[in-house]
């Protein structure tokens, strides 16, 4: 199957120094059955228009940098294939809900700040220091967080979440899923530090369970589940605060 066919790829273009607003530009791209959308974009950059700007690195669905909208669907362009769209044309746009930096690249500054805010690392408790010994976990304890640890920060879930689009302050799916990933880890003792993020209006309560984050996630992280389980945690925290002695949480 090395037969070459032609597909029209329509790209959203935007140059911050010369363009008032984005516009579409179409390219006619020859492709073979094994070519991904990313390879289509690379063909454009190499042969048709060197100014087209987009991100990629691994080309194997693990680095999370090639996310974009293909026909309004947030996807990793390296694991989306041109053959599945031919003979129709495809429209490639930067990930929805994010500011466009240039062409298909978006500005992730906002997400990176949110990622930092959830303390996405193990916070061991002071009196439980194993020194240089390994910290063993049972297979069951690993299962508690393994799924949530698969996130590659591709941001497809943010592009699928209308709540994030409507309110940029919402902490959003991936950051909250990662928050849950560390809270669910038996080696972690940092829950209290993450509680403010969970409890905030922009935390888990910013979610209305549209559920699309989990639908589009290429790594099946299921952020919707992570977020909504923490609504119960947040509610418990709210009521327990009245019962516990003052000044302690």
């Amino acid at each position: 199957m090395t037969q070459t066919r032609t597909i029209i790829i329509e790209c959203l273009r935007f140059h911050p120094e010369t363009d008032e607003a984005p516009y579409y530009q179409s390219y006619e791209v020859p492709f073979t059955a094994e070519m991904s959308v990313l390879e289509g974009l690379q063909y454009i950059k190499d042969h048709l228009d060197g100014t087209l700007t987009f991100r990629w690195s691994c080309r194997m669905a693990i680095c999370g940098s090639c996310g974009c909208m293909v026909n309004n669907e947030p996807v990793l362009s390296c694991q989306t294939f041109l053959r599945d769209y031919h003979p129709s044309r495809i429209r490639v746009e930067p990930l929805a809900h994010f500011p466009i930096l240039r062409d298909l690249t978006i500005d992730q500054t906002d997400f990176l700040a949110k990622l930092e805010s959830v303390h996405p690392y193990l916070i061991p408790s002071a009196d439980d220091d194993p020194g240089d010994q390994p910290r063993n976990q049972t297979p069951d304890q690993i299962q508690d967080y393994l799924g949530y640890a698969q996130c590659i920060n591709c941001l497809l879930c943010y592009a699928a979440c209308p709540q994030y689009g409507l309110n940029e302050a919402f902490t959003g799916p991936a950051a909250l899923a990662l928050l849950h990933r560390y809270n669910a880890d038996s080696r972690d003792a940092g829950k209290a530090q993450r509680m403010d993020v969970i409890n905030a209006e922009e935390g888990v309560w910013g979610c209305t369970l549209v559920g699309e984050c989990s639908e589009v996630c290429p790594k099946h992280v299921d952020p919707a589940r992570a977020i909504n389980q923490n609504k119960i945690v947040s509610t418990q925290d709210y009521f327990l605060r009245f019962l516990k002695p003052r000044g302690r949480r």
């Binding site: 935007f14 911050p16 120094e17 363009d19 607003a21 984005p22 309004n72 929805a96 809900h97 500011p99 466009i100 930096l101 500005d107 500054t109 069951d140 299962q143 508690d144 699928a160 209308p162 689009g165 409507l166 209305t208 369970l209 549209v210 559920g211 699309e212 639908e215 919707a224 589940r225 909504n228 389980q229 609504k231 119960i232 945690v233």
Partner: protein, 134 residues
Amino acid sequence: MNPPRTYTRGMQRWWLRRPSYQFYLLREGTSVVIALYGVFLLMGMAALAVGPGAFEAWRAVLFSPLSWLLHLVVLAAFTFHAWTWFKVLPLTVPPFKTRRFPRGFSDATLNRMALWAWGVVSLVILVAALRGLQ
């Protein structure tokens, strides 16, 4: 260094962008119907407090042909709402681990349990209400 100029697209008519968004709005929209029906029932209670005349008037509205029609609409909205609500329910419960099910119940099991509970409770209420009417 100044931050680079960026372009932010708006959320104009965002619900048209994915069919699932419309489904979501429909799901949430049916809760308005449920709230309105709650208000209607409250009005019945208020009428009862006011006096027999007011209550009879409310009952007349309740058994009017238009009300029967609206009740069918409300029933459809309730069923849809409950159905979708129980569908997402498993996402909201932390894994409930037991000795036989060390990883907790599957989503499908939780969903089925909830639907059964809903069915049984509805049936009990229906029987009780029918007896009350006699």
